[in-house]
């Protein structure tokens, strides 16, 4: 759950990019860092990688100050996708306010996607998140590659699920911001319900999305 620090008048929202190994979670963050121009934008913090694979997590802090003076920080994390790092993945997922599940569109990756998604569901329950109510967007990444599942095939399998499906090419940039905005749109009502963003801080949903995901 988002944390409100009364002393420094600050609300911190945590969003997590989850998914199988090499599906493009870090690339999503890097692309967002380039694309977005929020009022406040930190550097991407990359914790120890091994052969370009995430060992701990990546962190991109974004933020803006509400008209009320409240500092709203949105911290984007990625988890390590490799199966062996499950404990780390679980720790990073803890306290998440929303999740982007980055799936690999390549035909051969269907099973890895399914396993990772199941892992997300299990870990969410383990760290005490209500998976049924957790804001979630499923992104099918790597649309630019050959030999990917057709959109119709993907929609056949995933279309019945309640989560928005976004097709993306993180390497090129397509769909990355759209994914992020779809997540913010789901996250806003939850946070607004708790912290009365609109009523007390005069930040409604469009303003929230624009402030965090505004284009540069």
């Amino acid at each position: 759950m988002a944390e409100f620090d009364e002393e420094s008048n600050k609300l911190t929202v945590k969003l997590v990019y989850y998914g199988p190994a090499l599906s493009g979670k870090t690339t999503n963050l890097m692309r967002l860092h380039d694309l977005l121009a929020p009022e406040l934008k930190g550097e991407i913090m990359t914790l120890e990688t091994q052969n370009e694979r995430t060992l701990f997590f990546d962190l991109l802090p974004l933020g803006f100050r509400a008209p009320s003076g409240l500092l709203i920080k949105v911290k984007l994390f990625t988890v390590p996708g490799q199966v062996v790092h499950d404990a780390t993945r679980k720790a990073v997922l803890s306290r998440a306010d929303g999740v982007v599940f980055v799936a690999d569109s390549q035909r051969a990756q269907g099973e890895n996607n399914a396993e990772s998604f199941q892992n997300l569901e299990e870990n969410a329950k383990r760290v005490g998140l209500d998976f049924d109510r957790l804001p979630l967007v499923v992104q099918f990444n790597k649309r630019d590659l050959p030999n990917v599942l057709a959109e119709e095939e993907i929609m056949q399998r995933w279309g019945v699920a309640p989560w928005p499906i976004v097709f993306a090419s993180a390497l090129i940039g397509g769909g990355v911001r759209d994914t992020f905005i779809k997540l913010l749109e789901q996250v806003y009502p939850v946070i607004d319900g708790f912290f009365k963003l609109d009523e007390l801080h005069h930040v409604d949903a469009p303003a929230f999305v624009k402030a965090v995901a505004g284009l540069s």
């Binding site: 944390e3 620090d5 002393e7 420094s8 600050k10 911190t12 945590k14 406040l40 934008k41 930190g42 550097e43 913090m45 914790l47 120890e48 701990f56 997590f57 962190l59 802090p61 974004l62 933020g63 500092l71 920080k73 911290k75 994390f77 062996v84 790092h85 404990a87 780390t88 679980k90 720790a91 990073v92 803890s94 306290r95």
Partner: protein, 437 residues
């Protein structure tokens, strides 16, 4: 993830301390004080002294002093120290060179960034190690539970095996008993035949004797009347000379027959105590003779039963059981020989051991079956004809007497079963045959 080599107890202590040291989450918001904790702050102070060469103050956003002058500066310039998106504190100075002042602030920000990276990685590591440890503990509990259930299973398994063994033992005992009853039944048939014969002629003799008595009564009446002519006529007609002679012979024959029945009954007593586990000193030759005479009639005209009994000492034994041994061995041999064949039972003694041999000249036992003849339920006879227990019981009886039994045979040349019984007596431990248990 590799863990330090610590015992589980030390590892737990380590983790508990780790959790005490890092009670917060890796993704929490850090304060300036936290990020510059330890002697980092002191060393940073020295650097700032040297770099700025003028009084300065490093404070948190709330005004708490971390480094520099204790008292507020009169007209300070102020640079916010940012981390992430927001200022965590301020660097203030009045006289420091502008360039150096900015460089000092940038240096502190850089340190905060490095420090935050370290703390986040370390605390995430602690969190995941603890999660792994918790998972291990849960696995340990699960393993203990499964071990306990396996233990319970193995215990109940043992119990079930014991029950099965008991069932099998009971069934075996019943079968052994059935085998005993079957051999007794066979004996009874022989005995009935043996007794029937004398009873038959004794009854016939007594009927004849009854007729003789009638004639004698008539003769007595004639004598009383004193009619000599009639008396002489009757004497001749009734052939009283033959009657007087035959009456005596007839009575003698009947007494012999009755004696024979009495002897058979006496012999039968040897078999009436099959189930008695009382030890007695017995002459085994006598037992063999009894058994032979019991069996003889059953195989009358089919096979010859010869006894070549040497002089052997009396031994302490269970005569009832040995009788069964002899019945089984001799019956087995008699059944194995073709019509006109012969079975010889021989006894002798050598080296404190009594040797009893049952030799037949039948068709013999094939070499591949030789090892199996003492196995329970092994039989070459038609279903219902043999229990397959005769020789197994024989072996048990011999074992119970501390002896041993062996079989020699080659196909077509008959078979020889040899029993060795120790004179010194068996070990008392296994004296009791399993058949009586």
């Amino acid at each position: 993830m590799s863990m330090p080599r610590l015992s589980s107890k030390r590892w737990r202590v380590f983790l508990e301390r780790a959790v005490e040291i890092y009670p917060k989450h890796f993704d929490r918001e850090f304060s300036l004080k936290e990020l510059l904790a330890g002697n980092t702050l002191e060393r940073l102070g020295h650097c700032l002294d040297a770099l700025l060469g003028a009084p300065y103050r490093l404070t948190s956003t709330s005004g708490a002093l971390l480094l520099g002058e204790a008292d507020a500066l009169a007209q300070p310039r102020r640079i916010p120290i940012h981390h992430d998106l927001e200022p965590l504190g301020y660097l203030e100075s009045e006289q420091a060179d502008e360039e150096k002042f900015k460089a000092a602030a940038a240096l502190i920000e850089l340190m905060l960034q490095v420090s935050a990276r370290y703390y986040m990685a370390a605390e995430l590591h602690i969190e995941s190690v603890q999660a792994n440890y918790e998972a291990l503990k849960q696995k340990h509990v699960a393993l203990q539970e499964s071990e306990a259930s396996y233990k319970a299973l193995s215990e109940s398994l043992e119990q079930r095996v014991q029950q099965q063994v008991q069932t099998i033992e009971t069934a075996q005992r019943q079968l052994y008993h059935a085998e005993k009853m079957a051999s007794i039944g066979q004996l009874a048939a022989g005995v009935a035949h043996e007794i029937n014969n004398p009873i038959g002629f004794i009854r016939s003799n007594l009927a004849t004797a009854g007729g003789y008595v009638d004639k004698l009564c008539h003769l007595a009446a004639l004598i009383k009347a004193g009619d000599n002519i009639q008396l002489i006529n009757f004497w001749h007609d009734a052939d009283m000379d033959f009657l007087m002679e035959d009456f005596g012979a007839l009575l003698k024959e009947s007494i012999d027959g009755a004696d024979r029945v009495a002897r058979i009954v006496a012999e039968l007593k040897g078999f009436s105590n099959v189930d008695q586990a009382e030890e007695e000193v017995a002459d085994l030759n006598e037992n063999i003779r009894t058994t032979a005479s019991m069996l003889k009639s059953r195989f009358e005209g089919q096979a010859e039963l010869k006894l070549e009994l040497g002089e052997i000492p009396r031994v302490l034994c269970l005569p009832g059981h040995l009788n069964q041994l002899f019945v089984n061995l001799i019956t087995n041999a008699l059944q194995a020989v073709p019509r006109g064949g012969s079975v010889t039972v021989a006894t002798d003694v050598a080296d404190d051991t009594i040797r009893i041999q049952v030799i037949d000249n039948g068709h013999g036992i094939p070499a591949d079956l030789l090892q199996k003849v003492f196995d329970p339920f092994f039989t070459t006879r038609e279903v219902g004809q043999g229990t397959g227990l005769g020789l197994a019981v024989a072996r048990d009886v011999v074992n119970a007497h501390g002896g041993r039994i062996k079989v020699e045979s080659s196909e077509g040349k008959g078979a020889t079963f040899t029993v060795y019984l120790p004179l010194g007596g068996p070990n008392t431990d296994n004296r009791k045959p399993s058949t009586t248990e």
